[in-house]
């Protein structure tokens, strides 16, 4: 596969390490959320057959974490974003 890195352009997916569903960005706050919220966050997945937003890490490249939107039926990549930008847009900060 080829991931079109937002900064570096097309790169072989072999340079990346896959983590999983980009919903992992939405980590609950441990001081307010309890076991049930963390359980749902960490373990349950939509696992769609189709467009899937997922986290990839450019380990053998620039070390950016990316959010890749990819079709799990065809492997077509629809969108690639820097995970930091996505996280900030979703309200994550410190």
């Amino acid at each position: 596969m080829i991931i079109n890195h937002p900064i570096l352009g097309p790169r072989d997916a072999q340079e990346f390490v896959y983590l999983g569903d980009a919903n992992l960005i939405n980590r609950p706050d441990g001081m307010t959320a309890g076991i049930e919220a963390f359980h749902d966050y960490l373990y349950n997945r939509d696992n769609p057959a189709g467009a899937h937003r997922e986290l990839w890490y450019h380990e053998q490249g620039d070390r950016s974490w990316l959010v890749v939107t990819r079709n799990t039926l065809t492997h077509e990549i629809l969108k690639v974003e820097l995970a930091r930008d996505v996280a900030k847009a979703q309200g994550r900060s410190k």
């Binding site: 072999q14 999983g20 569903d21 359980h39 349950n44 997945r45 939509d46 899937h52 799990t72």
Partner: protein, 416 residues
Amino acid sequence: MRYSGFRVIAEALTGHKGWKPVWRDPEPQPAYDYIIVGGGGHGLATAYYLAKEFKQARIAVLEKGYLGGGNVGRNTTIIRSNYLLDGNEPFYEFSLKLWEGLEQDFNYNAMVSQRGIINLIHTDAQRDAFTRRGNGMILNGADAEMLSRDQVRALYPFLNFDNARFPIKGALMQRRGGTVRHDAVAWGYARGADMRGVDLIQNCEVTGMRIENGRIRGVETSRGFIGAGKVGVAVAGSSSKVMAHAGMRLPIESHVLQAFVSEGLKPFINGVMTFGAGHFYVSQSDKGGLVFGGDIDGYNSYAQRGNLPVIEDVAEGGMALMPAIGRARLLRTWGGIMDMSMDGSPIIDKTHIEGLYFNGGWCYGGFKATPASGWCFAHLLAKDEPHKTATAYRFDRFLKGLMIDEKGQGAQPNLH
């Protein structure tokens, strides 16, 4: 119709005119007591045991494609019960014992062949971990033994003993491990279920579930609504898709695992072996092909095909272990969709919807589990309580912190 050598001879002498269809192609009835969704190995085994062992009737298996077309038709055919953890080992040992009597049980030669499996050891830490495992296996009634480097060499003298990056120091062996002709397992169960009146309905895709007041009433299918008292879903690979019809999100991701077969070669690998310093495992089939594999590709996929990096990685592992296979040729690669669960272990459990049961999350261990999975799922469906070897395979183990994490990788399915 009973199969036997005499029957084969008799048919050969009379032009094979007497062979009957191995299964019927019935039209679906309006309703059944039990609907098993998924005509792969686990679904067919469930229906078979439900009818045979638990004496239930009015059973249908709904298959969206052809029987045995799931992962039972695209795996590397290995059976073993060399698991580490107490949640797993009794179940897999139960499965291995069922394999050992399977052919006589369903009167079909699935070529269960216990030629032994070895897990190669390259470090002292691996030896410690395998010792723990081997002892756990024996405590669970399985067999295990530790082989020295010389014993491994006597078995497989052509492995790389002299110029290896990670020298072989020994192996954990399970002599009762081996291989089975995978398609025949599906066909044997299908034939046995059909003979006991189970309706095997091919080309029938479940498109919805009818749930009223927290209870399942039946399934919508490409061939119309079919009513059911109980519905058991055994569609590993597509679990999330099917269970979404019931509004459920699962602790499962779908990943692609590639498998490989070489051209037919004169026999030189008798048993099964796994390389402890790379991602590679191999056996040789009764037709002579090397059947091998390695890691999953590592990304969510329903595409039933993989990519080049894993193919190269597997070949590197193979060549590192067996430099004699350089001139053997890879004939075919294929990919299956794995239900990768959050701790690498399966789920056989009720759901919060009355009458809806789930069997999935098999990762890439599903084939060897086929008999026990069918038996235990049938047990759960018939008796509403888990079989004693499958008590740990519950949905709520993640909420309770009772994960069965053989590899110790945590909630990351692609690492299991």
